[in-house]
Symmetry: C2
Subunit: 200 residues, 2 copies
Amino acid sequence: MEKQFRTNLINSLSGFKSVVLLGSKNTEGVENLSVISSVIHIGANPALMGFVMRPVTTQRDTYKNILAIGDFTFNHIQPSFVEKAHQCAARYDASISEFEAVGLTPFYSERMNAPFVKESQVRIGLSLEQVIPIPLNQTSLIIGAVKEIYCPESVVLPDGNIDIEAAWSITVSGLDTYHKTEKIARFSYAKPDRQLTQIS
Amino acid sequence: MEKQFRTNLINSLSGFKSVVLLGSKNTEGVENLSVISSVIHIGANPALMGFVMRPVTTQRDTYKNILAIGDFTFNHIQPSFVEKAHQCAARYDASISEFEAVGLTPFYSERMNAPFVKESQVRIGLSLEQVIPIPLNQTSLIIGAVKEIYCPESVVLPDGNIDIEAAWSITVSGLDTYHKTEKIARFSYAKPDRQLTQIS
């Protein structure tokens, strides 16, 4: 199989993926943004999220920054800045801030030593917990603890769910195709011998 | 923070997620289906996919089956059977096949010792490669090698991408909310100082 054909095929197999802008900065204070489509929920208690870091990629700066500084941010992407977000995948020199290069705005909280994306409605501040090597292909699972959450109050449902569709968060398929969503249904907790109901 | 509120909140933070039915069977031949929303692309060459397995959950049977048999399947979910798919999350006894309980049809290929879901348009056969423990919360990253792919020829683009939106694959947010998608755009490979173009 031709290499790019194979890459496209296998990347689209895993289904629709979370896509975020990962914000970090280096010890000289240069900010970095990278597009990450391998974010994964690790657990709610303690609150942990992870992503797969490729061995040598545009994310090298990201990796160095996270190891050096410890803090990083995940910022959901909305249709209004999807093109700017995709452009963050370009291999800019380490001395260049992707915020400036693509035209997004850094935002700092009091606690986190990493920039959030001001334009993003759902923003998460994390601190590095563990780097787990995946020897099969020299990637790593980077796990962070959730320290801060910013999102509009209007999209937080009474039961704690964030209505990320109402927050305009988008999803990605393959390497380069972005999608908005339309809710089909929310279902009740599944139990044997009990009919599911829809939650509105 | 109240436990269920926290669980809902943190689960919705990671954005839209891949959701598949994982097919397996035990050494007595009893088939199992579970809903997995933590599928992650690990790499294209070798072709590897993974998912996070919780320590003690409805997926215990799944875990035992994968360790004992080695083969398992990922099956994309379409709106036509989303309710049946969600019902697979119920804690059925190990002697009960979720296929029968919810009304889905097992399908076997010649090579894989695990059932596919016949109703699913995008189906992947995998064999276990590695179980990587995540000591932070006693979960594990289960990694499989892609051995077989079934999908309609009509949704495979000339460059290898599977148009999973055209295959009616859906996505999930939080624990229980399912969404269909609508493509915003596909963008060209990002390079510094070059304007992105849209790929149609």
